[in-house]
Symmetry: C2
Subunit: 438 residues, 2 copies
């Protein structure tokens, strides 16, 4: 159809005077009464009531509305009228012309469908206003991150996801037949972020997919996820990384509150608060002590924290310091990869941290070991095949400044910010061991 | 070492008064004379001269400097002194303490090394100031794109790169063994961008990797590349897509001029000019006529433009309209995929375009066909296996608004903006049929 009026987003209707408007969106509900028909129309910005009084003049439109399937996309030209009796936004649009752009089949999912069924029909599931809010929040978080990095002179890089070698271990690695050879999908941009340090890029960031052939089915794991990564040169220790990390998150939460605070409260019942800086820091050994004194025995053989320990230390910090975030620092060398730097004279710990947010680990950060002799020693000590590590080690021979960085799961950050129970809700199209569709 | 002064970026030295400073970077050159030593130190922001008069007091530092390999990363504490006789920035730093953080081996590449050899040692090749500028320019371009999208209310999405089916054709597709089944690496986010339209997201963008098992070795092809993608609902035609597209590029070029214009002129000899809006538009048939009248016969069997035709129409537009960009519109249905919308009553053309920039195609955009019956017809007409397309077609049955979008190769944009000859120069770590390293 030709529009005599340009399209108005539904959220902007309230700013217009009464008169002709064009709105476009999908049909959420139809109330088809004898004398008057009501349609709730939703677009990406909100929903509004359409009204069509049934009489001789409107018979054709009335027949169309009677046959409208929920989910159909329509263009409506009509007359906007402010009316405070209308609960939905205090306005309605009296239908003049209604054109069905695409007819929809009946939706196979409902509000009470299981998460698995909803994921089967994710493109319909995402029409829920809560789902749309999730991805608007994610957009705001990412933009706040990037704005901070840009302001600080970081370079954005796009590291390859096809690699010739496994960067850390061959476990949980996807193999790709690649012409005459085999490639692997990057599990993290770790190696390439470090090459950017050797290249003298100084400070870099990347938000990109990462892949793990992880057979687990928890609420926190996916085979493909969006990894938020930064790496900076000339750190004195992991403290420099944590300082950057906490600023990023504080800015992101602040931006989310400004843009979406009210709607988050309304749809998720959560009142977000901007975190204070600095975030609390507790050494790993101290965390273990606190958790054990609280009655939880960590069963892991390697002594690392388990999910229950993460929940408990987070609750402890919330209770004692009122903070949603906590850096667990000084992880033992035994539970950290060979490339985490060990401070002079305290070889049993690493200059590394995990960041826990509302009870769940969202990130690991560290100062990296930049001295090749120590890297070799530490790789040997971990029982790694040094020959296989040569590509990783190679570029260290040509000079690398002291550096550090972090990797963080974006879907986890959004999940924990909005109090959701699974990253399946905060991933656009989730990928797991048994899910490649849609 | 413990710094008594915080690190100063070299570009900021000029803003400081004479006195103690700490600078950190890598050694570019050493001039080791009998009475005085000079070191050119480079960091991510620029380069500066260090000076060390050789005498009894400085003997230890002098020995260190004499043994310094180029490329070594060092921390220098010293005294800044403005001195207009120093060609490099009119200042120098008299070395107090010099600590070698990592010793470098001799670089295996030189300024005249072949591109292939430089790529073998890309982490060293990227230390060239020209290379660093390329990625700063890219960072500015991407940020300008995203800022425009954010200002216009777009949602950022992260579409999966692991797919169950080929979105368009099985040619040039990477296969990935995936638990009990097979996955494919996404050649473009096309299908998923369209799902976001069905989901009612309205307007979306993504900058992410895409994969093509393309065996060609041209200066414009890679097996993995960064794809810039946007898709918008409720378009009237491809004109709405082009209007968004040209605004994005105009803002990006303007931002690059503001941030890097002088340095681009200095390093690449190019004076960038912000493009005027609207960009020229020429229908495909008219382009063919102009090119053929100019003496070039297009040899392609399908009648589509070849690279020489792209160069010629671009030169023609530059000559006649002074513009670096041109939209070639109204592509014949025969050379476009089945999902490009064909305008009512003119089934022989499509509501689509290619965007050519300085002689090379950087993007294809189109209004997509959103009506499932027409999609089926057009897929059949193209001889496609409709059964295999069912996942693609499936979500159209549940309603999709009229929509369109584009995909654009980021490395090509940067290459053409800076007058470079290959995307190998504008890709952080290039991937091709015979290149998976480093």
């Amino acid at each position: 159809m030709t529009h005599t009026q340009p399209r108005t987003l539904i959220k902007d209707l309230a700013t217009l005077p009464d008169g002709p408007v064009t709105v476009q969106g999908w049909v959420e509900t139809v109330r088809d009464q004898k004398r008057v028909q009501f349609v709730i129309l939703r677009d990406e910005s909100g929903s509004a009531q359409l009204v069509n009084p049934v009489n001789e003049d409107t018979a054709e439109t009335a027949a169309t509305i009677s046959g409208l399937m929920h989910g159909s996309f329509v263009t409506v030209r009509g007359d906007l009228k402010a009316d405070e009796r209308v609960k939905l936004g205090g306005l309605e649009v009296k239908v003049g012309e209604l054109v069905v752009e695409t007819v929809a089949k009946d939706s196979p999912i409902a509000d009470d469908s299981s998460i698995d069924k909803r994921l089967d029909w994710r493109f319909l599931d995402l029409r829920r206003p809560e789902a749309q809010l999730i991805f608007r929040v994610q957009t705001t978080i990412e933009h706040a991150f990037r704005q901070h990095w840009i302001d600080e002179g970081f370079i954005e890089i796009h590291t390859p996801k096809l690699m010739a070698t496994a960067s850390e271990s061959r476990a949980e690695l996807f193999e790709v037949p690649y012409f005459e050879t085999t490639a692997y999908l990057a599990q993290s941009p770790q190696l390439f972020k470090q090459m950017a340090q050797s290249a003298g890029f100084g400070r870099i960031f990347e938000i990109a997919p990462a892949f793990r052939a992880d057979p687990s089915f928890t609420s926190r794991h996916a085979t493909e996820f969006t990894s938020v990564d930064a790496e900076i040169s000339w750190v004195e220790s992991h403290e420099d990384v944590m300082a950057m990390h906490e600023q990023l998150l504080a800015k992101a939460v602040t931006a989310v509150i400004e843009r979406h605070g009210e709607e988050i409260q309304q749809r998720f019942g959560i009142e977000l608060q901007a975190p204070t800086l600095p975030f609390p820091r507790i050494p790993h050994a101290e965390v273990k002590r606190i958790v054990e004194e609280g009655g939880h025995t960590i069963e892991r053989a390697d002594g690392d924290l388990d999910p229950e320990a993460e929940r408990r230390i987070s609750a402890h910090v919330k209770e004692t310091q009122g903070h949603d975030f906590v850096f667990v620092t000084e992880y033992p060398s035994t539970v950290r990869p060979f490339y985490h730097l060990r401070p002079e004279g305290r070889e049993e710990v690493t200059n590394s941290y995990d960041l826990i947010y509302n009870g769940v680990e969202i990130s690991t950060g560290a100062q990296r070991e930049h001295r090749i002799e120590r890297l070799r020693e530490q790789a040997l000590e971990k029982g790694m095949d040094v020959a296989e590590l040569e590509e990783y080690l190679g570029f260290f021979e040509y000079g690398v400044p002291p550096h550090g960085g972090f990797g963080m799961g974006l879907a986890r950050v959004v999940m924990l910010m909005l109090g959701l129970s699974s990253i399946r809700e905060t991933t656009f199209l989730f990928r797991g061991p048994t899910r490649l569709h849609p």
